[in-house]
Symmetry: C2
Subunit: 153 residues, 2 copies
DNA sequence: TCACATTTAATTGTTCGCAATTGAATACGC
DNA sequence: GCGTATTCAATTGCGAACAATTAAATGTGA
């Protein structure tokens, strides 16, 4: 029985890869966010850091890293750029001089108000109900956590 | 009524962002793939390019880009690294000299056999049934395509 | 035919993302 | 208290990702 593609090749076909679905969806999100975040003067990873800090600031770099699954190699230069943009300040803790504490400036706090417009634009772009998105989010988070468990997070 | 966090802030909370779920899941996949792909001498984006080429090679750079949603700024240096690794060759088309055709070398074709072990390791790491993964994949792809429709893909 | 637009890769510059290493501060074990 | 281990951020180097530009080849319309 002749086939264009062998059934044995199915596991290697691009369109069968959930990892590619996730990878390409992440890039698609990035492209939708870009024009919205340009107005805030932020990149997407910088926006994530600001989301963390808007919940609670005066936290060490490590805490931000654990929240976002990023290390200091990524965060140190990113935080320096946000400091150069006057959105936050980086100061060594006096209690424990290994820690660098990240605190928002008044401008950093103020940017939160401008950011409130972003999630609703994303919701519109996703063309999807909130409940569907919440369900998908929970499933993806569960998958992520199982993957992270393997590599030891 | 006092609250730790105002309900008005819910749309900006990190854990409510589906984009972050997708973003962090993509990184989690990357970390699981890394040790598997190290054995093949590939990075994850290089693996995706190889998946495309194992389905069909002798294709222009543009076709690979459309398949993976990547542009020449990403692909040109990546393909040069794969060429340096003797997995493929880049040759200008004689029909249309604007095109650079990508063809696998014998080593490039041969690597497919070693790659067959990868998907099953990923499946195990995801700790999830195939049918659940397929459902999730289809949902994520549908979301991705709606997002891409907004930015004009 | 000839000017002009379009297509295609390559290039440049900026920002992530991560592995590996370094150096300083702190915690621990005896 | 002292030597060692651990923690934390910074640094270095490499590989993506993408915007913007460039240059060459091809297509199109008057």
């Amino acid at each position: 029985m002749a086939r264009k593609q062998s059934a044995a090749d199915a596991p290697l076909r691009l369109d069968n890869q959930i990892c590619f679905a996730v990878y390409s969806a992440a890039h698609a999100f990035n492209r939708v966010y870009k024009p919205l975040l340009d107005r805030l003067g932020l990149t997407y990873p910088q926006y994530l850091v600001m989301l963390v800090l808007w919940e609670r600031d005066d936290v060490p770099v490590k805490d931000i890293g654990e929240r976002l699954f990023l290390d200091s190699g990524t965060l140190t230069p990113l935080l320096k750029r946000l400091e150069a943009a006057h959105l936050l300040r980086r100061t060594r803790s006096s209690d424990d001089e290994r820690l660098v504490l990240i605190a928002l400036t008044p401008q950093g706090h103020a940017l939160k108000e401008k950011a409130r417009a972003v999630p609703q634009s994303i919701l519109a772009a996703s063309d999807c109900s909130v409940s569907e998105l919440v369900t998908m989010k929970d499933e993806i988070v569960a998958l992520r956590d199982r993957l992270n468990a393997v590599t030891g997070e």
